[in-house]
Symmetry: C2
Subunit: 97 residues, 2 copies
């Protein structure tokens, strides 16, 4: 089974880093206990005014495992705390060096 | 020196994957010979209609090394071949599991 990569770019206004990080950490803590979770890495932009202040790159065993995890009521309650505009999609790596 | 991560999300219309990939590979081939380059990984969305069809995640020794590499006339000529709307920024990893 080929793993999938979730890439989710968040639009977080200046001054709201800590609020976002608190919510993200709680959601990540939940997800890492779900079946199929492999890894997650959250990135913050060097410049404070980047279009996407935070980008999460996470690896899951499969699209099904990811969808199951984020469909749960427990996760959806946590996700409400990080309700900034975001741009999530699932990807496969197609080239690397 | 802390490495930096370039994350660049590309808007590539349906049907233009191969044109994008050809251009991206030529640009990546050039960049991997530049001082400070560490790695690159290109992702393609599972769904063909994702907002960002491709996302590149690359690691460089420093913001300076990256800026030097992409400012060269040689790179800029190559970049013209992948002139799709894109959303590049430099990041630090702030959390990982």
């Amino acid at each position: 089974m080929e793993p999938v990569t979730l890439i989710n770019a968040f639009e977080v206004p200046a001054g709201e880093d800590e609020a976002f990080l608190d919510g993200w950490r709680a959601a990540a803590e939940h997800l890492r206990g779900c079946p199929g979770f492999r890894s997650t890495r959250l990135h913050r932009s060097l410049g404070p005014n980047a279009e996407f202040r935070f980008v999460n790159v996470a690896v899951w065993d499969s699209a099904e495992a990811f969808q199951r995890a984020v469909s749960s009521p427990a996760f959806r309650a946590l996700a409400e705390r990080i309700a900034y505009p975001s741009h999530p999609a699932l990807y496969h790596a197609v080239a690397e060096d």
